[in-house]
């Protein structure tokens, strides 16, 4: 379990007090809104469509039960009883009052949490594999490295005013569950000649110009992590464009200058910077590796688990879809999807958060992860405890057997909350999920990633959806473009636009035609939608989306 060090609590309490004074100065007129805005953004406070929004950091998605209970308290006391999991493994509150936010930050500080660098042109929350320390296939636990990067990047004086926001993700091994190709820096843990290190990617990102990252360094020994990452960001900090917000991300810097130029500059900077680290980073890494040591796993029979699977079809179906293979025999990682019928994707009520905290203590070695797909994982649950865990999740509406299926949709808040959105996302996600549930087709369709964004900033990662949906404002009416063939994981790919957009009421029928076409053309049930798309290309799917054009 992640320990909160007292020194960190002092620091976040200090920052909360600073923000309290900044709010007071804004309210008494000593600060203008122009002066206050960057200060509130540095503390994760946005002004959205209906209210302020507070984004709280969950470093690399790892959170303990007491911290989760604090998130529940904030939802209940300062919001409308719920919070929203984000694709950076953070949580957002949609309705806080500015005058209450200093109190919210004080509550967070008590459990070592904060909202620092959840906005602004800074290094944002480092994300990683939600099954870190648990996955059967990981090369190494990525959390010590993520914590090293977090502690180094928090309040890093040189990187508080980057050209644009900066996002880092770490994959635990060959199988990428952290979407490293879509990050400013992506790090893939790997072994080479008996040493642990990273394959380093740079220049990925979504938004209005989606680009997949490229490998800048094949192998970086783990002890060089901080100087190398610092060299990348320092190079970008100088070379990145500040004249045009839309050309300021490192993906554009790499495109404009070329990878060879960037690599040469980064390597030169790296050699200079490495001399200044003097080993403090290596000592810190050793401490963090100890902090993230494995819990005391236990041995127990799994007969009860197998018997319950035979006796209870609901339990069997849920264990078929919502478990991930653990590295320890007898254990599993549990995916608790926040995508049940009628639920807004990624929304968690205070009661649900408290239940997760309790269940993690009772069954999960007190470890909880926020997943980048807006679900929650209990990484270490012994299979013999699953028959007791399942009914408790089910009673809270959290045992929907849909991880990785059609209704497990990533959706941004869209124009129901976001000031930047051009159309709504949430109702489209709910309608698609309801439609395919009612038809009972989810299981037959199998693995499918649908992702919806309410504007070109792509917070819903629509480019990476097998089916992506982008909501736009077309002459004052919501309109939805469909992209096909995106992939966040095995073979990273940016989806290609299929054709003209659809009005809101025609989106579900279009997706219905698309998936029925897939069921027709697939070789067998093991060929997923994305596999069939790769084999056949866009033509049969485009014909299903636009039957009139196809007939003509």
């Amino acid at each position: 379990m992640f320990d909160v060090r007292p020194v960190e609590i002092d620091y976040v309490q200090h920052r909360a007090q600073q923000f309290r004074e900044q709010v007071a100065r804004r309210l008494d007129g000593s600060l203008t809104e122009e002066e206050f805005r960057p200060l509130r953004l540095m503390n994760g406070v946005y002004l959205q469509l209906h209210a302020y929004m507070l984004r709280v950091a969950v470093p690399y998605g790892t959170i303990n039960p007491d911290q989760m209970r604090t998130l529940a308290l904030l939802a209940e006391k300062y919001d409308k009883g719920y919070g929203h999991w984000t694709t950076r493994q953070n949580i957002q509150y949609n309705w806080p009052k500015l005058v209450d936010i200093p109190d919210m930050l004080d509550e967070l500080a008590k459990v070592g949490m904060h909202a620092i660098q959840t906005s602004g042109n800074t290094i944002r929350n480092v994300t990683t594999d939600a099954f870190a320390g648990a996955a059967f296939d990981e090369t190494a636990d990525p959390r010590p490295y993520a914590e090293l990067l977090r502690s180094w990047s928090t309040d890093h004086a040189e990187f508080q005013f980057l050209p644009r926001k900066f996002k880092i993700a770490i994959s635990s091994g060959a199988k990428d569950r952290a979407v490293i190709a879509a990050h400013d820096i992506g790090l893939r843990l790997k072994e080479q000649d008996g040493k642990t290190g990273f394959e380093v990617w740079i220049g990925g990102g979504l938004g209005r110009t989606p680009v997949l990252g490229q490998v800048v360094r094949d192998f970086l020994p783990e002890e060089d992590l901080l100087p190398y990452v610092e060299a990348i960001i320092a190079t970008y900090n100088l070379a990145g464009r500040r004249d045009n917000k839309y050309k300021a991300r490192i993906k554009i810097t790499v495109m404009e200058r070329g990878m060879d130029v960037m690599r040469a500059e980064i390597e030169e900077e790296f050699l200079a910077r490495r001399r200044d680290f003097h080993g403090a980073d290596r000592e810190a890494l050793a401490i963090f590796k100890d902090r993230f040591r494995a819990p005391a796993f236990r041995n127990a029979a799994t007969d009860g688990f197998e018997a319950e699977r035979q006796a209870n079809p609901g339990f069997r179906s849920w264990t078929d879809t919502n478990l991930h293979q653990h590295r320890i025999d007898g254990y599993a990682s549990v995916v608790v999807t926040f995508k049940s019928p009628g639920q807004t994707p990624g929304d968690a009520s205070a009661e649900q958060m408290r239940l997760i905290a309790d269940l993690a203590e009772r069954f999960g070695h007190s470890d909880i992860r926020i997943m980048h797909d807006q679900n929650v994982a209990l990484p270490h649950v012994h299979k013999s405890d699953l028959p007791a865990l399942y009914p408790e999740l089910k009673a809270a509406g959290l045992a929907t057997a849909n991880a990785g299926l059609t209704s497990d949709i990533i959706a941004c808040p869209g124009m129901d909350y976001c000031a930047l959105a051009t159309a709504r996302s949430i109702p489209i996600a709910e309608e698609i999920a309801d439609h395919f549930r009612a038809l009972g087709l989810e299981e037959e369709i199998g693995n499918l990633n649908i992702r919806i964004s309410g504007c070109i900033n792509a917070c819903g990662h629509h480019h990476l959806g097998h089916i992506g949906i982008l909501g736009l404002d077309r002459a004052g009416v919501e309109n939805y473009q469909i992209t096909l063939g995106g992939d966040a994981y095995d073979i990273p790919a940016i989806g290609q636009r299929a054709g003209a957009g659809f009005p809101a009421e025609e989106v579900v029928p279009a997706i219905d035609r698309l998936l029925r076409a897939y069921l027709e053309v697939r070789q067998d049930e093991n060929e997923r939608f994305i596999d069939a798309y790769r084999r056949l290309g866009q033509a049969p799917f485009k014909a299903a989306l636009y039957p009139e054009t196809a007939d003509a």
């Binding site: 804004r26 209210a51 500015l98």
Partner: protein, 110 residues
């Protein structure tokens, strides 16, 4: 959203912003600011609206981000033209929160 909207007699507009302390949406009305969009002042003259916007900007101790946006005359007061403003005046579609809930509470108290 166009912050540069210029109202005319044919295309009138309202001035809207967010409450500084609490964040909720407000509209400029005869005696200040109201959370009820139907009570907003409808501007049909560019010069008068721009003067009112300057006054709104001058009330930075009360509101954040004021702007003029198109509206139309309705039976109960100004109504939104663009769907974004309609959502701002109603609240989100996934929960009965925001102004729609406030208005219902107000109606049941009458």
């Amino acid at each position: 959203m166009s912050k540069a909207f210029t109202p005319t007699a044919n295309k009138p507009g309202v001035i809207t912003a967010n409450d500084l302390r609490e964040g909720f949406n407000v509209w400029m009305c005869e005696d200040g600011w109201t959370p009820d969009p139907r009570k907003a002042t409808l501007y049909e003259d560019e010069a008068i609206a721009e003067l009112a916007l300057l006054q709104a900007i001058g009330q930075a101790d009360r509101v954040v981000g004021p702007y003029i946006v198109e509206a139309k005359r309705g039976p109960n007061g100004p109504e939104p033209v663009h769907f974004r403003e309609a959502f701002r005046q109603r609240g989100p579609s996934n929960y009965f929160h925001g102004i729609q809930a406030e208005q219902q509470a107000e109606a049941s108290n009458v």
